[in-house]
């Protein structure tokens, strides 16, 4: 019984490792093909995905959008 549990725990660890390795490889592929290509094309056309650059203006506040319709609260965006 104890031996079975140890084997099970060992196999669980192995499966987690394999799952993590596969995830990492697949996500890396997605990263370089999806994120990478989009990022390079965007930047080639001067797109800034985050407002990280330096700029000086009178204020850094941005106006909030006006009141949202009730349906918007049913959405995750």
């Amino acid at each position: 019984m104890i031996r079975d549990r140890k084997v099970y725990q060992y196999l669980l660890r192995v499966s987690r490792f394999i799952s993590s390795a596969v995830n990492t490889v697949l996500l890396a592929i997605v990263y370089f093909t999806g994120i990478g290509i989009t990022s390079m094309i965007g930047k080639a056309f001067g797109k800034k995905f985050l407002d990280t650059g330096k700029r000086d203006s009178g204020t850094y506040w941005t106006e909030c959008k006006t009141k949202k319709p009730r349906e918007s609260y049913y959405r995750m965006f």
């Binding site: 995830n23 990492t24 996500l27 890396a28 997605v30 990263y31 370089f32 994120i35 990478g36 989009t38 990022s39 390079m40 965007g42 800034k48 995905f49 985050l50 407002d51 990280t52 330096k54 700029r55 000086d56 009178g58 204020t59 850094y60 506040w61 941005t62 106006e63 909030c64 009141k67 009730r70 609260y73 049913y74 959405r75 995750m76 965006f77």
Partner: protein, 579 residues
């Protein structure tokens, strides 16, 4: 066997008299749940108190189960569930981070994407799966949840609202106004510019944990001089209207799991290794950060007042727990009345979304003020007695509350450290008199004794005093009630020598004011202590040890009592002694 109250609640639920709304916050830090019924808070608690994992970010299943049980309802009786942010907007921001910082964001992408795909973007199905809930799940933006968590439970009919934290979806700081049931967000500052993340960056640089130890940096600031103020001015551009912008070359948090860049370390020196010696440089950095934080906050508050022209202010978000800055608001900003709810961090978002659904989306009238933090679990005398007897723990049973207060005051006066476990657990990060460790503030050694025997925390961190509201101005330069320990005020100069263990190095104290109607036993205990010592003040620190959440159950309290140097434990009417 259901009692009459439970039967009544079930009947009224069946008849549709009650409207139950459950608010949930989770997936980042301090996950929590809050149940409101007909616009009044019934129960609220953080998951960490049940799971015993500090700042537990996981789906708050234990906190939800507690809320349902406190409300004597099942999930079928819930009319709406609200979630404290908009997951897809947050994912949109994460994608923009990956895109902007490609290829440096590879590791961040690989590490975070699984949780996005399995949990964070699947909130409705997660709620259905974990709770068996079939109704609607509503989503509001993170800073709107913060704003609602403060304004909708405040005593104000109209108030200016400031929310400042690390980051929500895109927003890190926002200004708004609340009027009757409505909240209007007016202006915001967006990621990657964030006052909260600046504070967290310095927290990391000083060798403390992000999203956990920011208050330590605030405590450390009192020991330093703001020698690095001009350096901070170079990395944050602050306008007269309080808007600000960070020079992102000093930061790494937008591209990797690391807060500060090499350039930051060049400017402020090498980062401190956790648990290593704290040098004067670290204190000066903390003091400079505190100064620039206050400068930004007070400029923002000035601008907010100009826009809203109201003298009432509600604040929420992690930065709203900067009690040193909060204590200066009524003196340095035009606001006369301030409300900061006890759980103003992300946990409070669960309460915010629940009240927003009830008051703002459904348009129901406001009729509740959160003036008591006791929304967590309580344990009956029988439950405590059963626990003690099952575990063969010897105890003394007090005859009545008068004896509890008198005897406990004697123990504290004799310089014993007392674990104090009474009634319902507090909502929010502060122990406010029901899950507290109490000690004698008049003993100059008590800070060191508490640290050595119980808390094992950094030498520079002060302990907090509690004082009856009517005596607060005799001991502190305080101008408004502070029931939730959210503000620091100077201890009156002539009183400092009498209260050495609660007076911080800069002469201040993060006090709690207490009214008898809010917690009679706690109040009476302070009065009994006054009869012995001449001072109506106690040390009140949270009932936990370093690195653990505040205790929730009698079992947690007893475990903490056993493994620390707490001398006595008072649980309900039972006294447990170690001596």
């Amino acid at each position: 066997m259901q009692n009459k109250k439970t039967q009544g609640i079930i009947l009224q639920n069946v008849l549709g008299v009650f409207m139950n709304i459950l608010g949930i916050s989770c997936h980042y830090h301090d996950s929590a749940a809050c149940l409101i019924r007909n616009g009044k808070a019934v129960a609220a608690a953080q998951e960490e108190r049940f799971s015993r994992i500090k700042h537990d970010p996981t789906f708050p299943i234990n906190a939800i189960n507690y809320c349902l049980s406190e409300g004597r309802i099942s999930i079928d009786d819930i009319d709406y569930i609200g979630f404290y942010e908009k997951p897809i907007l947050k994912f949109d921001r994460a994608l923009h981070q990956y895109l902007e910082t490609f290829p440096g964001s590879l590791w961040m992408f690989v590490k975070t994407m699984p949780s996005w795909l399995t949990e964070k973007l699947k909130v409705p199905s997660l709620v259905r799966k974990k709770l068996g809930y079939e109704g609607d799940v509503l989503f509001i933006e993170h800073h709107l949840a913060h704003a609602a968590s403060a304004y909708l439970v405040s005593p104000f009919k109209r108030a200016a609202i400031l929310t400042v934290d690390a980051i929500g979806e895109w927003t890190s700081t926002s200004l708004g106004v609340g009027e009757a049931n409505e909240i209007t967000m007016i202006k915001e500052i967006r990621f990657p510019h964030s006052l909260g993340l600046l504070y967290s960056t310095v927290t990391a640089h000083l060798g403390f944990r992000v999203n956990n130890d920011e208050y330590k940096v605030m405590g450390l600031a009192a020991y330093g001089k703001p020698k690095y103020y001009e350096d901070f001015k170079e990395i944050i551009d602050v306008k007269e209207d309080g808007s600000y912008r960070l020079d992102m070359s000093y930061f790494d948090y937008h591209r990797k799991f690391h807060m500060f860049s090499e350039r930051f370390a060049e400017k402020f020196g090498p980062s401190r290794t956790p648990e290593s010696k704290i040098e004067q440089r670290h204190m000066d950095i903390a003091a400079s950060l505190q100064k620039i934080t206050e400068e930004v906050l007070f400029k923002m508050l000035g601008h907010l007042y100009e826009i809203t022209k109201t003298d009432s202010l509600c604040m929420a978000g992690g930065v709203a727990l900067n009690s040193v800055a909060n204590g200066k608001i009524t003196r340095r900003a035009p606001f006369k009345k301030v409300y900061i709810q006890p759980a103003s961090t992300d946990a409070g978002g669960s309460m915010g979304v629940a009240f927003f659904i009830y008051n703002s989306i459904l348009g129901k009238k406001r009729g509740y003020v959160l003036d008591s933090p006791f929304l967590g679990p309580s344990f009956s005398e029988n439950q405590i007695r059963r626990f003690l007897e099952q575990n063969k723990i010897s105890y003394h049973e007090f005859r009545n509350e008068k004896e509890i207060a008198r005897k406990t005051a004697e123990l504290i006066y004799q310089n014993n450290i007392v674990g104090w476990f009474q009634g319902r657990m507090e909502w929010g990060p502060r122990a406010l008199g029901n899950r507290s460790i109490l000690a004698n503030p008049c003993n100059p050694e008590m800070k060191d004794i508490l640290n050595r025997k119980v808390k094992h925390r950094e030498w520079f961190r002060p302990f907090a005093p509690v004082v009856p509201l009517e005596d607060a101005q005799r001991y502190f330069d305080v101008d408004i009630p502070v029931p939730f320990m959210t503000m620091v005020y100077p201890v009156k100069k002539e009183k400092r020598k009498f209260l050495p263990s609660v007076t911080h190095v800069d002469g201040s104290g993060r006090l709690q004011t207490i009214e008898r109607k809010r917690n009679p036993l706690y109040y009476d205990l302070i009065r009994e202590f006054e009869k012995l010592s001449g001072f109506p003040v106690l040390i009140n620190t949270s009932f936990n040890v370093r690195g653990e959440p505040i205790v929730c159950s009698p079992e947690d309290a007893y475990k903490c009592f056993k493994k620390t140097g707490i001398d006595y434990l008072v649980m309900g009417k039972f006294l447990i002694s170690k001596i």
